[in-house]
Symmetry: C2
Subunit: 367 residues, 2 copies
């Protein structure tokens, strides 16, 4: 491992100082910002997420704000999922594609008002994309990046902690719905959401100068439940089958290849970007699909993998796009993006640093 720190092209989040105080030991870049990815205690961090409550600086999940008379139309044109049935204060998980149907992002889209939306984005420049499409189509919208930075509270005890701070009303929030809130004059929005299957909330901080204050409030309120710092867990998300845009995808991956079929509405208007290409792909059948792989070798290894080639009978059939030791499965697992000819149960080999590691394909999620 080598060093990384803030630089002129790599900004910090409003929670940066709090995470340094907590002893952050590793960062990964995301949307040209530093995202904490370790505090030096992987087992403790994983355990808190699975059994307790964990606090994550996910300020890198930037908002692309679309407002104005054409905001709803532009938002729909950028999204291949039907947004017409989205209520104010509701969010939806949405694939965004280019004109060839390749995935550009998988944000949660938050509808704040009939003419006001946030795309709460994964790692790609959707501000530029939304501005460009709006201008090409001559839409009357304003597209900006507001001062909004999410702090995630995740794990089975997250609801107790968030309720202790903001009141029991948060217990009634439905999945992906959100509401305005305030604590010690810090403006925020609370959503029931987050990048894990362990439940929890994202607190959308709406004043970047109050990051440390909000962190400390949650830290103190969560003490009775053993709250501690953490980060979007590569292990938990692999076990749970959650997609990582840009991690599990390449420049030409379409939503059907990575299990997002149910978030695509092919009967949307032709003006929606990518929808005609996706109809064609659906008709012809996508060439690849995403499956899980369980390697035969069951020796625990720290960290997680990068992209490796996958072969079957000596022929390359796809790529292993992530991998980790799963404490719950007690196995080395990962996702593969692989030819449709390969099916669950098939035997494959993963080529890792010159070594062929045999394994068996299976359906996702693992758990």
């Amino acid at each position: 491992m080598a060093e990384i720190g803030p630089n002129t092209r790599l900004r910090t989040s409003p929670f940066y100082e709090a995470t340094v105080m907590e002893g952050v030991t590793a960062f990964s870049p995301y949307n040209k910002m530093l995202m904490p990815v370790s505090y030096g205690d992987p087992a403790g961090e994983y355990g808190r997420l699975l059994n307790g409550v964990s606090l994550w600086d996910v300020g890198v999940q930037r908002q692309v704000q679309i407002e104005g008379p054409d905001a709803a139309r532009l938002t729909q044109i950028l999204c291949v999922r039907d947004m017409s049935n989205c209520f104010i204060n509701q969010g939806k998980y949405v694939p965004m594609c280019d004109h060839q149907g390749a995935l550009l992002n998988d944000p949660v889209v938050l509808k704040l008002d009939d003419n006001l939306f946030w795309l709460s984005i994964a790692d790609n420049n959707m501000l530029m994309w939304a501005r460009g499409i709006a201008a090409e189509r001559g839409f009357d919208v304003k597209v900006t990046e507001p001062d909004v930075s999410p702090l995630a509270v995740q794990g089975p005890k997250a609801e107790d902690v968030v309720a202790a701070v903001f009141g029991d009303w948060v217990r009634t929030l439905k999945f992906f719905w959100f509401a305005d809130a305030q604590i010690e004059n810090i403006p925020l929005k609370i959503a029931r959401s987050g990048y894990s299957k362990q439940g929890g909330f994202e607190l959308y901080l709406c004043d970047g100068s109050r990051g440390t204050d909000l962190w400390n409030i949650m830290r103190e309120a969560g003490a009775p439940w053993g709250i501690g710092p953490g980060n979007p867990s590569p292990v938990e998300r692999i076990e749970s089958g959650l997609l990582s845009y840009g991690g599990d995808t390449d420049n030409d991956t379409n939503p059907f290849e990575v299990r997002l079929d149910r978030y695509v509405n092919l009967d949307l208007d032709d003006e929606v970007i990518g929808i005609r290409a996706l109809r064609r792909i659906r008709e012809e059948g996508p060439k690849r699909h995403q499956l899980g792989v369980v390697l035969d070798d069951a020796t625990p290894v720290p960290g997680h993998a990068i992209w490796y080639d996958v072969t079957a009978d000596g022929r390359k059939v796809g790529s292993m796009t992530n991998g980790c030791w799963s404490p719950r499965l007690e196995a080395l697992i990962g996702f593969v993006l692989i030819s449709r000819d390969c099916k669950p149960g098939d035997r494959v080999e993963v080529l890792k640093h010159g070594t062929l590691m045999p394994g068996t394909l299976r359906e996702l999620p693992f758990i």
Copy 2:
């Protein structure tokens, strides 16, 4: 400083293994790849660039390849500089803007053939942008990211080293021109270019499997001139007044604000993205400009700065966008992006971690 390493969203360059062998100690992300930014000997690395020859893994400088019947037209539409006078085998440094005239990138555009161009890009997703605009305008082009990764040889002795490997003909290459070459069956293009003012070449490796081979060839050939590993030097580029896209710019910076006036041709066709906005900005006068600042405090500090507020008479007037100790000026220097009301010679204060550091504005470049 915290740790960073390759992950599923952060790929390695073809020269990665060579740089690890060389003892790389720090990376910065760039175009979702790892760019080496230190080998642990800042003074030695700076000295080699200024007085000898330095070898840089700049594989992160990806190529966006535009080919097909409409390639020349799309390339011009993406660039606010006139490309009609660009010859085959010539490159040009070109601002790319959005429809509001905000800078999206400042690539070298290489014309490989009448219908084949590479945008050799700075840190932003220009593949997505070019594909999106091509589709919106219905152009007949294919836009891809080819297997091409530059290796820079920079410094006053670079020409001797490159000539020793490829022949004396490289000495006749004009600035930003390029030519096909080959060594030990490694296909590449050699351009006289690079992100420094010390002279040199970029070797565009066209076979990603041969990165270590090419590195070693240059390393051995350069031994008589004391070649060693290095990276695009923040210090040298600040002294020399070179722009860092994304480092010195924000989402709304236009080319006139950052000294790129001479690379903008306002009489280009209206269909060029951003040209109408730039005419309006030129007419109204840009609101900010980029100047240098020399701080009064002349204590050497390692590393370089992130963005700080700049005040004059207690009022915020702009931002200091980079900063470093300059060994040649023996001063703390940096760029400011600042109100047009502020002029060279004016006194300002830079707010660094709660401390006001007084300094004086001046023209760029420093050297």
